[in-house]
Symmetry: C2
Subunit: 244 residues, 2 copies
Amino acid sequence: MSRFTILPDPRRQNEARLTPCAACEVRDLAICGVLNGAEIERVGAIVSNVRVEGGEVIFFEGDDAEHVFNIVAGVVRLFKLMPDGRRQVTGFLYPADFLGLALSATYAYSAEAVTPVRLCRFPRGKLERLLEEIPRLEKRLLGNAANELMVAQDQMLLLGRKTAKERLASFLMHLSSRAERRGETADPIALPMSRTDIADYLGLTIETVSRTFTRLRKDGLIDHADPHVVHVLDRGGLEELAGL
Amino acid sequence: MSRFTILPDPRRQNEARLTPCAACEVRDLAICGVLNGAEIERVGAIVSNVRVEGGEVIFFEGDDAEHVFNIVAGVVRLFKLMPDGRRQVTGFLYPADFLGLALSATYAYSAEAVTPVRLCRFPRGKLERLLEEIPRLEKRLLGNAANELMVAQDQMLLLGRKTAKERLASFLMHLSSRAERRGETADPIALPMSRTDIADYLGLTIETVSRTFTRLRKDGLIDHADPHVVHVLDRGGLEELAGL
DNA sequence: GCGGGATGTTGACCCGAATCAAGGTCGCCG
DNA sequence: CGGCGACCTTGATTCGGGTCAACATCCCGC
């Protein structure tokens, strides 16, 4: 019934208790980065560690929003579905990203693991109580939300007004600069998601995504032997196309 | 140089001081709805009343984000521009809506008045200090942001996956239910914005918007003698089309 | 009341991306 | 190691919405 496995190995649970949030590998980048030692312990007391296999559901649009999450490792896709199956991917989340903020009682979108994922899970009620006591954390969440809104507006511009080539260039530049911000390499861009995911994110079909990759390659802007690794050959040209 | 006129008539300024935020006509619907008497006075001490003519700029993307605003009366459009002039309208704001939340030092989008507008203007720094002292207000802003994010995701689905007919139906249902929430009539839907605005909001051209209005009319879903007033003939059909 | 600009509608045609269809590549399991 | 299924690429054709163009309507100022 459960959609994820709480780490079942007692040794691991123990390990989680011994090296909790204080030693979290994404702490500084995540919302927890604003917390001091005493505060981080309080957070540690309410979180669970959760694993989800690639392709598995984390939650569905309409589910009771009982938890919020921080991504510790792996990549997650968020999406909305129409009754006839049309899908719009609204975002890809990476380690340190926050997931599940909902005003209403239910989630407004679905979340699935793209790769195997490790999540830090907060019961919503307990987190809300913690927010009362740590205004700095609430401020951090507000900053987060403002940032997500900015990204969402960029995405609306992309979906409403850009051509297929511009969309793909924007997507690649976006991934590249995010990787850089996380301290990873900006040049060979890793694409953990499938062509279908990319298409549903960019408002295109898989065929158009594939053809557009080929066009960018023929134009000398990128190179890719492996469909999931893209080498940037002409960053300036890509940025130009992306509209930056 | 200034893009707006602070009420110049001393009688009015006086009036504003005598009947300030406490008597604000949109107070309950706006973020100020969470404030008590003493708090609202503190807000009243930092706001200015501002008027903007229809078609005038409120701020441009890239401007220093010195103020945030509450809309008291009128309709505002938010949009992003590409270097070649392509425009994406990211939202229409109505009385009681909050405007200008920005994490960065500059606005991430432009705002213009669609109709003549009255704004309540907060210097950003002063509001931030107020937020420190009134956590309830910050919580309200967070709720606001979460809500805007939900709307933004719906809009991404619209822009990425819906047909022209579905987009227009979604738009009309959206306006209608917002009007209802503000206590206005849900049936004759007022469209204060131009076809160009609607097109740039829905990721279409004005011609397609116009043709699609005609199609909805021929399908018996709506009626409109005046292009800025739409009568709903078949709400169920529109909702179905909109995907609800 | 009349002329002109802004806004909206309609028609003819075109084009970029969708659809339909066929292979290609890779990895996994028997 | 061979076959099957998932995923990606490429080609041929179609189609929804864009572009270009003409015209209608309204409003505003003179």
